[in-house]
Every structure is written in C-alpha cells, then in structure tokens.
C-alpha cells in the first residue's frame, strides 16, 4: 500500500506539496509573529471580522447569481458583474435625488426600499435581456461559445452604462439613519451600515433558500438543473424556468449592488469587475452550482480578505499589507482549484457532469 503510494508520487506532486507546505508555513509564521507583536487589540480584530462578514455577505449575494445560472446552464455568466453594476449605478440616481430633496433623511426606510426597488428592477431587466438576446440563441452551441459571448456582453454592458451615465466616479449619498455605530459594551462597536448589510443579505439568502426548496418554481429549477430533457417531458417549460433563474440571480445582484454602494459610497461603470470576480471566486470556493456553497464561500472569502492580510502578512514585516488583500483572495482561488477543485461543498465532477 505504502509502496504503491510512493510509486505514484511524481515530481509534480512533490512540487505541489512544497508549494502548499510553504504557504501554510508562511501563514502560520506570519500569524504567530503578528499576534506576538501585539500591534492590534481585540477591538481591531473584531472590526476586521465584522467588516469581513459584511463584505462577505455582499460577495455571497453576487456569488448566488453565478451559482444559480451555472447550476442550470453549466455556464459561467461573466456578465453577472455588470448586472450587479447596473443596479447599483442606476440606484445611485434615485438615491442622489432623494438625498438632495431631503426625502431620504426624513423617510430613510421608504427611501432605502425605493433604492432597492429601482436597483433590483434594473438588474433584472438587464439580466432578462442578456439571457434572451445573448444566451438563448446559443443554448445548443458548444460550451465555449456562450462563455466568450458572456465576456463580450460584459464589455458591452460596461461601456453602455459608461455612455449612459458617464465615466466619472459618483459618490453615493450618505443616509443619516445609517451613520454612526452602536456600542456593544466595552470597546467593541459595530457600524450601523454593516449591521444593515449583514441582516439584509441574510434575509435575502434565507428567502432564496426557501424559494428554491419549497416553491413549485424552485423545485422545477432543481429538476431542470439535473436533467432538462426529462424536465420538459414532465411538462416543465424549461426556457421559462431558465428566465426565472436569471431573474432570481439578478435580483440578488441588484440588492447586493445597493448594499455595496452604501458600504463603499462610490459607484462607476467599472465597479462590477472586482466584486464580480471575487464573487465568482467565492462561488468556486463553495462549490459552483451549490447554493449553500455560494453563501459559505462568500462569507469565507470576505472574512479571509479582511482578516488575512493583517494576520498573515503584518508580522512578516510587509508594509501596508491590506493592499495585498486581492493577492490573498486569488491565492485562495488557486489553492482551491489545485487541492479541491470541487469547492468546499461541491460534489464530485463525475456526478455533476461538469
């Protein structure tokens, strides 16, 4: 048994073990050094964690869009980041006008709901058009074709919105009601906006989960994702279910767009790219096609990105480690693809026919 394992152990394996080992070593040594240096107090770590969860919730919401579409079409919808951007960007205009008239500060709840409604409607419209115009005609073509189309559609949408709304950064208005923080006793405080992001994201995700598990459409979505032909033989209108899947994913992306904009206060036509690719990473991390996986992957990535740079790198004497958060996120993607390509909750590729 041991001999056979040794015989199969190739140079590539050795190299991969070395890479994996040195990364683990780096992480452990860095973390120990950071903690021993003691530059950061419990309050700092608490802030990192809360911010990580908030950011991760947004990633999770976007990741669900990738995973839902992948589950049903076995295709990565690379234009999903633009679905997210379109909602956030369009939401800006209503947010801005409501803020100027003072409505947003007088009726923050109605105001926020209106922003969500506009953003979600925009994202859903964009996604439905995308599916109808760009993807449906290619349903039966080889898998590379819709993938390239998705990348093209992503650019098309970016520059369409640049043409419509301009190329400058726009500052999302502040909402008075979301300004400030709550004290949790002692030195711990939590930003109101972060609470809103986490609670809203949790509600949306719970809603999605119940929808997919309990409703007739949700069950049909699961059936279509397993076997389209048989679903059609049961009388399920497969195209209609695919459209509804895009709508669901887009609604979550629109909501994520508003939460993201409220948290980071800035929108532009290119804003979808980084969160989009992070969310895609999160979806792969959790196991693409798997709904709880996308949620878990998003939270995990958000936390890692927030806590990781400081924890792993600060102690190694690397200046401004937070600048390296994207390196950490994508290193994690590479590691997952190497050591567990199916993701945390993913099933074996053989059964998923991916």
């Amino acid at each position: 048994m041991l001999r056979r394992t040794l015989e199969r152990f190739t140079l590539t394996d050795l190299f991969m073990w070395l890479v994996g080992g040195s990364i683990i070593l780096l992480v452990v040594v860095g973390s120990v050094a950071t903690l021993r240096a003691g530059n950061y107090t419990a309050r700092h770590w608490f802030d990192f964690v809360v911010f990580g969860i908030a950011q991760g919730s947004v990633y999770a919401l976007i990741a669900l869009g990738y995973t839902l579409v992948y589950g049903i079409l076995r295709m990565i919808n690379f234009a999903h980041s633009e679905v997210f951007m379109s909602g956030a960007f369009t939401g800006y205009f209503i947010a801005n006008s409501m803020s100027r008239s003072g409505f947003l500060d007088r009726n923050p709840i109605i105001g926020l709901l209106a922003i969500f409604a506009v953003a979600i409607t925009t994202s859903v419209t964009v996604a439905v058009l995308l599916e109808r115009i760009a993807y449906r005609p290619l349903r039966r073509s080889p898998r590379l074709v819709p993938l390239i189309t998705a990348i093209g559609a992503s650019f098309f949408l970016q520059y369409t919105f640049r043409g419509l709304y301009g190329s400058q950064n726009r500052a999302y208005p502040e909402v008075d009601a979301l300004d400030g923080a709550w004290s949790l006793g002692g030195e711990f405080v939590i930003q109101k906006i972060q609470v809103l992001v986490i609670v809203a994201a949790a509600l949306f995700m719970f809603g999605l989960y119940m929808f997919v598990q309990r409703t007739r459409t949700g069950k049909a979505m699961r059936a279509v994702s397993e076997d389209k032909d048989t679903a059609a033989l049961m009388g399920i209108d497969v195209d209609a279910i695919i459209v509804r899947t895009f709508i669901l994913g887009a609604a979550l992306a629109g909501a994520a767009g508003v939460l993201y904009a409220l948290m980071f206060r800035q929108v532009n036509f290119f804003m979808g790219f980084i969160p989009g690719i992070k969310a895609f990473t999160a979806a792969v991390l959790g196991g693409i096609g798997n709904i709880p996986g996308a949620m878990l992957g998003g939270l995990f990535l958000g936390l890692f990105e927030s806590v990781g740079p400081t924890l792993f790198l600060d102690g190694l004497g690397i200046p401004a480690p937070y600048q390296l958060k994207d390196v950490i996120a994508f290193t994690m993607l590479v590691l997952v693809l190497i050591y567990r390509p199916t993701g945390i909750l993913g099933e074996r590729l053989a059964t998923a026919k991916a």
Binding site: R216, R222, A232, M234, I236
Partner: protein, 237 residues
C-alpha cells in the same frame, strides 16, 4: 379516429436520418408495442412524439390535432406523457418532489395531493420512501417512481421507453403487471421494449421497426406466430 397517429414521420439527429417515414396508429384503450433491434428508431419515435425532436416531415396527431408545432412541455399538457428510457428520476429531489414535478402542468395543490395518493396506492413502496432522495432508491423503485411520476399528469397516452431495462426478472414481472393494470383502468399505452416476448404478451398490436422504418405491423398474436419475428426478436429458430 385514432387517439394517436403518426403519418410518414421523418426525424434527424443532426445529419443522421433516424426515422425514415414512420406511420403508426394507436387506438384509444390499446396497448401498442414497438419492437426492433438497437438503433432501429424505437426511442427516437417516442422522442419525436414527445417533442424532444422535431419531425422534419410528416404529422403527429392527437385526436386529430397536429402536435408537431408544440414544444415538449405543451405536449405533456395535451395528455401525452413519456416515461423516458433509463428512468431518469431527479436524483436530488425527494420521491414526493419527483411526483410533484410530474404534476407540474396542473397547479392545483389539492389535485396534486390526490394524484400523489393514487400513485402511493399503486406503488406502496414509494409511500414508505416518500421523503428519501430519489437517487438513493434501487433500480426497481426508480422505475416505479418514473412510472408514477408520469401518471401524475393523468395521461391520455402513456409512452413507455424500455421499462424493464436493467431490472431483475421479478421486478420485470411486477412492472408488466402494473402496465396491465393501467391498461385495465383505460390508459392508452405505447410501449417500446427490448424484451419483445413480454411486450407481445400484453400488447394488442405491434409494429416492428428496422433502421427507421416500419417493416411489419400486425396484431400481437400474429406477430408472435410470425417466423421472421420469432427468429429476429424472440430467439426462436
């Protein structure tokens, strides 16, 4: 008027001409069987009737209404339901959820619940396992589920594609018993089978397909006596 009628149907897989002018008739309340070797076009015929393949030529009529323009899911709501080859249950849905998918064309919850009860009455095994994922069922149970799922839509015409495939002989008998029972209850059945002997025992009439064409069609009794059929499909020399 025949309940289901195919007239000179041609279908293609890409460039492959799979059905070369198939004509057949199923009368109300009959069991009609299609027999033939692998690749003769039996499953293709069912796929074309169900709308998974579009006939490039010819007509498919249900009670005189042309079905060729409808999509697969519309054909189900017209009353033609197929149990696909290899069962194809939704493995990650529970037994009950699978059955609910069979009733997708009716949105009425109490009707669906009634239909589920009917299937559970027909297949008590499924009732015991109603909360289990369909992927964990045995082959025989999956065939019961696939059949029950199709019955959820109360089909006028039931298309069965190789229901006995890969099942132990005991289970084959029980599947054929179920088919007979459905027939007694008045369901019209078009049955595709490798097991020509069993199929010709329960069928009223049969069609023999060869390379996409009907080469013989007669009553099941005559087909059983037919020398060519005996040689080619029943293993009697």
């Amino acid at each position: 008027m025949a309940i289901l009628e195919l007239e000179n149907v041609h279908s293609y897989y890409g460039h492959i001409h799979a059905l070369k002018g198939v004509s057949l008739i199923v009368e109300e309340g009959e069991i009609v069987t299609l027999i033939g070797a692998n690749g003769a076009g039996k499953s293709t015929t069912l796929k074309t009737i169900s709308g998974l393949l579009r006939p490039r030529e010819g007509h498919i009529r249900l009670n005189g209404e042309d079905l060729s323009a409808y999509k697969a899911h519309d054909i189900v709501s017209k009353g033609v339901v197929q149990v696909p080859e290899g069962r194809r249950v939704f493995g990650r849905l529970t037994v009950t959820e699978n059955l609910e998918m069979g009733a997708y064309t009716r949105s009425n919850a109490s009707e669906t619940a009634q239909a589920v009860e009917r299937v559970f009455h027909l297949f008590p095994r499924l009732k015991e396992r109603h909360n289990q994922l369909a992927g964990t069922l045995s082959g025989g149970e999956q065939q019961m589920l696939a059949t029950g799922r199709a019955l959820m839509a109360y089909p006028k015409v039931l298309l069965l594609d190789e229901p006995s495939m890969g099942l132990a002989p005991v289970l084959v008998d029980s599947i054929f018993d179920t088919i007979k029972q459905l027939h007694r209850e008045g369901t019209t059945i078009l049955l595709v089978e490798q097991n020509a002997r069993m199929a010709l025992q329960i069928a009223d009439r049969g069609y023999v397909l060869q390379t996409g064409q009907v080469v013989l069609n007669d009553s099941a009794q005559n087909l059983r006596q037919n020398e060519t059929v005996q040689k080619a499909y029943l293993g009697i020399s």
